[in-house]
């Protein structure tokens, strides 16, 4: 079972990398770009076969290590 953990800085936490990306896009002529936020995706291969259990397991991993919940939020999706 594959799990995908998406980690983003929480709303309200300054994301200077996102800002820099936004400025670069404007520089390339993409005038319609508003705020840009960047984050990371972590893909996990899990031996667990029950989707609900796999999700719970990945969420525990996110809370303990993959995300720093002081500054980041996360979302777990189970992929087949």
């Amino acid at each position: 079972m594959k799990a995908e953990v998406t980690i983003m800085l929480k709303a309200g936490v300054l994301d200077p990398q996102g800002k820099a990306i936004g400025q670069a896009l404007h520089g390339l002529g993409f005038a319609g770009v508003g705020e840009v936020r960047q984050g990371k995706i972590i893909q996990l291969e899990l031996s667990e076969t029950d989707p609900a259990k796999a999700k719970a397991e990945a969420e525990e991993m996110a809370r303990k290590l993959l995300a720093n919940t002081v500054i980041e939020s996360f979302k777990v999706e189970i992929k087949a």
Binding site: L9, V13, L14, P16, Q17, A20, K64, L65, L66, N68, V70, I71
Partner: protein
């Protein structure tokens, strides 16, 4: 005073720290590789700066989960002192030993330059070599030093007087211009409620000898030299 420096892979400022501790305490600190870090009998444990585990995932995240952290927590629990500098500060926040987190510098640039720090309280084992309100110069070298915590945590830190050091001008004015990395409320260093754990981003250990260009950081290590865990 017996000090030990815990070294994780990727840490690279341990020798600077050892020189500063040796000069002030008169004895070489124990250099402790993280895999066999025996902290027995130490008064002070220091986690120095560097790029532990290549800053993978987040700065300090990997070291914070390493087995050595259990020994470090036990050291704090029995009343030992703990200092985290730069990556060491990041590790302590990731481990939950100090609140908040260190974000990417607001200007995105890696900052390798001097800053000035205003001493917010001088009645702690780490800071009693200075006067409250005194300003000292310290080098800094970090890409992720922008201290962040939610407003409630910042209010609590200030309410409980746990902010040790703030970025300030050479004249001691805490202003946005002096806050190179964008840290919340100009916070450069904080203390645990027990006052036995301190974390800071700048490097006082790199200004402890005239040959280094100054001795602004020496009072911190001279103060630590007087430490003894009861």
């Amino acid at each position: 005073m017996k000090a030990g420096i815990v070294v994780f892979p990727g840490i690279n400022r341990e020798r600077d720290m050892a020189i500063a501790l040796h000069a002030s305490t008169g004895r070489a600190p124990a250099m402790l590789w993280h895999k066999n870090a025996d902290l027995t009998g130490l008064d002070l444990v220091v986690i120095p700066g560097g790029f532990s585990y290549g800053d993978y995932l987040r700065c300090g995240a990997m070291a914070a989960q390493s087995p050595a952290m259990a020994a470090i927590r036990a050291h704090v629990a029995r009343g030992g002192y703990l200092l985290g500098v730069c990556n060491g500060f990041q590790i302590l926040t990731e481990a939950g030993l100090l609140p908040g987190a260190l974000l990417r510098n607001a200007g995105l640039r890696f900052l390798s330059m001097d800053c000035h720090l205003r001493v917010e309280r001088a009645d702690t084992a780490f800071t009693n070599g200075y006067r409250a309100g005194e300003v000292f110069r310290a080098p800094m070298a970090h890409g992720d030093g922008n201290y962040f915590a939610d407003d409630a945590t910042l209010d609590r830190l200030e309410g409980e007087n746990l902010v040790a050091l703030r970025y300030a001008t050479a004249e001691g004015v805490v202003s946005p211009e002096a806050n190179f990395n964008g840290a919340a409320r100009n916070i450069a260093g904080i203390l645990s409620p027990s006052l036995r754990v301190m974390g800071l981003m700048p490097h006082p250990e790199d200004l402890v000898d005239p040959l280094m260009g100054g001795t602004d950081g020496k009072p911190l290590f001279d103060a630590l030299a007087a430490l003894e865990v009861a």
